[in-house]
């Protein structure tokens, strides 16, 4: 409660502070309107929704030594009960001669990975509860204070502090990382205390004809399945007439997780795969196939999408999503779980940024 009040006061101060600066930069609005048809095989029910999400971004000039941004976001899924629900970002950054300070609600991206990233010890990128129709699969933000200290051209150290969700000081999140290049490999190592767990991690990224990335982390004291390894490869094939095919394959492994097939908790699954195929027929027209596969029970959640960038920042979008698997599988056509994605859905809509 106290935290919410403090955060509201902080946001109002930031909004007031940014208001004269906003005049010099255009606010940016992103609007997604996505009518959706769904089918749940378990109840044999068809349904229609008008899904929407809207964001408004106000940012200051970037050329000074202090800058800030406020992003308000709302969508048809999330009920708004407090200011924090719509406040996606509200932060300032201050550039001092030898370090940089960031304070407010923002995101920090640690490690590499489109869907699975064991090095994302602050927010966690190891679960399957994402929408494959989104261009950005992970986008959590939180209140934080961070200090970034450059150590040469390609290296830096970063320290972050996140206020606790509860009123207990012992639940404060703390993290630090070091980012550098050795030969041609990016090496990132760090540590975070999250909910009284100690989480060290290591993340590597390089190129062997194809791009690769590998991360690992563990939560101590360990609960067995907290040791996570994620890895990915990425390759782009140039086709005739400036067309291209991009291939990405990521996996998530919990060596001490459950190797059994069937309905198990998302946070205990031993192995998951994420293949992604994007065929760009033109700079304006692309076809995407994404899937989260549980190889142990051969179930999957897949999405096929078409994106037509018809005009400047205006896109027409169509997606078909499908869950395939038996009743007891991780992904199931006839899933009866509350909050489980529908067995089948079709979305046709548009996205506009202005």
């Amino acid at each position: 409660m106290v935290r919410d009040k403090l955060l509201s006061i902080f946001t109002l101060i930031l909004l007031i502070a940014l208001s004269p600066l906003v005049a010099s930069e255009n606010p940016i609005v992103e609007m997604n309107l996505l009518p959706t048809l769904t089918y749940k095989a378990n109840s044999d029910a068809w349904d229609t929704f008008f899904n929407w999400d809207l964001s408004l971004s106000l940012s200051s000039n970037r050329e000074k030594n202090v800058r800030g941004e406020v992003v308000l976001k709302a969508n048809s899924f999330t009920p708004i009960t407090k200011l924090d629900d719509v406040l996606y970002k509200a932060y300032f950054k201050a550039r001092f001669p030898s370090f940089r300070l960031t304070a407010g609600k923002n995101r920090l991206s640690w490690g590499d990975g489109m869907l699975f990233n064991a090095a994302d010890v602050l927010y966690g990128s190891n679960d399957t509860s994402v929408s494959l129709t989104q261009s950005e699969l992970r986008g959590n933000t939180d209140w934080l204070v961070s200090v970034n200290y450059p150590l040469g051209f390609f290296s830096f150290a970063e320290v972050v502090l996140m206020p606790p969700q509860s009123n207990k000081m012992s639940d404060t999140f703390f993290g630090a990382r070091y980012y550098t290049l050795i030969k041609d490999v990016k090496i990132e190592g760090g540590y975070a205390t999250v909910e009284r767990l100690h989480k060290p991690y290591l993340s590597l990224q390089g190129n062997l004809g194809f791009d690769w990335y590998l991360s690992t982390s563990i939560a101590l004291p360990t609960t067995g399945n907290s040791w996570v390894i994620s890895a990915g490869v990425f390759h782009l094939v140039k086709l005739a007439s400036e067309r291209s095919l991009t291939l990405r394959l990521e996996f998530l492994n919990r060596p001490l997780g459950s190797w059994e097939a069937g309905r198990i908790d998302d946070s205990n699954v031993a192995l998951l795969l994420y293949p992604e195929l994007v065929f760009a027929y033109s700079p304006f027209l692309s076809f995407t196939l994404r899937s989260i596969i549980s190889p142990l029970d051969l179930s999957a959640m897949s999405t096929f999408g078409i994106n037509w960038n018809a005009f400047d920042a205006f896109n027409l979008i169509a997606n078909i999503s499908l869950a395939t698997g038996e009743d007891d599988d991780l992904f199931s056509w006839r899933s009866s779980e509350i909050g489980a994605p529908p067995s089948f859905s079709v979305t046709i809509g548009s996205s506009w940024i202005f």
Binding site: G139, F153, V237, S282, W308, N309, A313
Partner: protein
């Protein structure tokens, strides 16, 4: 004796041009020299068009010699996205995700914002003569300008276009036109300068059109709106710290 006079007078007339005729390598060297500044700051746009649509991306760009450059996109859809090239590496910064990405290998072949320019094109640090063997094919008039016509043949397979034919202005060394082809001579792209501007006694392209010859109605327009030669740049401009700012 009198029969030889026309020949001798012709020789005398041609002598200066024979003595001062430039070789293909000298033309390319001068062309590269005049298109490179110690530092630059420019604003501009990339407009990409094909039969599925048209889009325009606006950007600010800073550069230092041939090795360091920073591009920041300012149009709504990409605002704040940045590309840094320094010390032979290319980095991307996505402000929405606060994500820093190092581009390597195949990822460099991706087209920049769907244009006819790839990230790989941006990482080019070598001079034209490092990559190509040049041969002077002759002289032609293009847009009422006397031009050298040169044929460039790639020295290795690492370049995007094995064959280039370029029309270089004899006076300003501006490349007015270029044809990019496969090794077998199949025309892939064509570049033409539509407008020019002058800076420090040099002529630079203000607007260029790059046409994809493999697709109907597909082209990119590169426009420079403002240009500053040799401005004083902040020392930390080409660092990761500034990229993620």
């Amino acid at each position: 004796m009198y029969k030889k006079l026309p020949f001798l007078s012709m020789l005398l007339l041609l002598l200066p041009s024979l003595l001062f005729a430039l070789t293909a390598d000298e033309i390319i060297g001068e062309m590269d020299r005049l298109s490179t500044f110690e530092t630059t700051y420019l604003t501009g746009s990339i407009q990409t068009t094909d039969r599925f649509g048209t889009k325009t991306s606006r950007f600010n760009s800073w550069s230092q010699g041939k090795k360091d450059s920073l591009i920041e996109f300012t149009s709504a859809a990409e605002r704040g996205q940045k590309i840094l090239r320094t010390e032979g590496s290319l980095y991307l910064f996505y402000p929405d995700a606060e994500q820093l990405i190092r581009m390597q290998g195949a990822a460099l072949r991706q087209s920049m914002l769907g244009s006819d320019i790839s990230y790989e094109d941006m990482t080019e640090e070598k001079t034209t003569l490092d990559n190509y063997e040049a041969k002077l094919e002759g002289e032609e008039s293009f847009k009422n300008r006397d031009c050298y016509v040169l044929l460039l043949t790639a020295k290795s397979r690492s370049v995007a276009y094995p064959i280039q034919k370029i029309w270089v202005d004899k006076q300003t060394f501006l490349v007015w036109k270029a044809e990019y082809s496969t090794k077998q001579g199949r025309l892939l792209k064509e570049m033409e300068v539509l407008e020019t501007f002058n800076v420090e006694d040099r002529v630079l392209p203000k607007q260029s059109k790059i046409e994809d010859k493999m697709k109907k109605n597909s082209f990119t327009l590169m426009t420079i709106d403002s240009f500053e030669a040799n401005p004083q740049l902040d020392k930390r401009i080409f660092t990761l710290e500034n990229l993620t700012w």
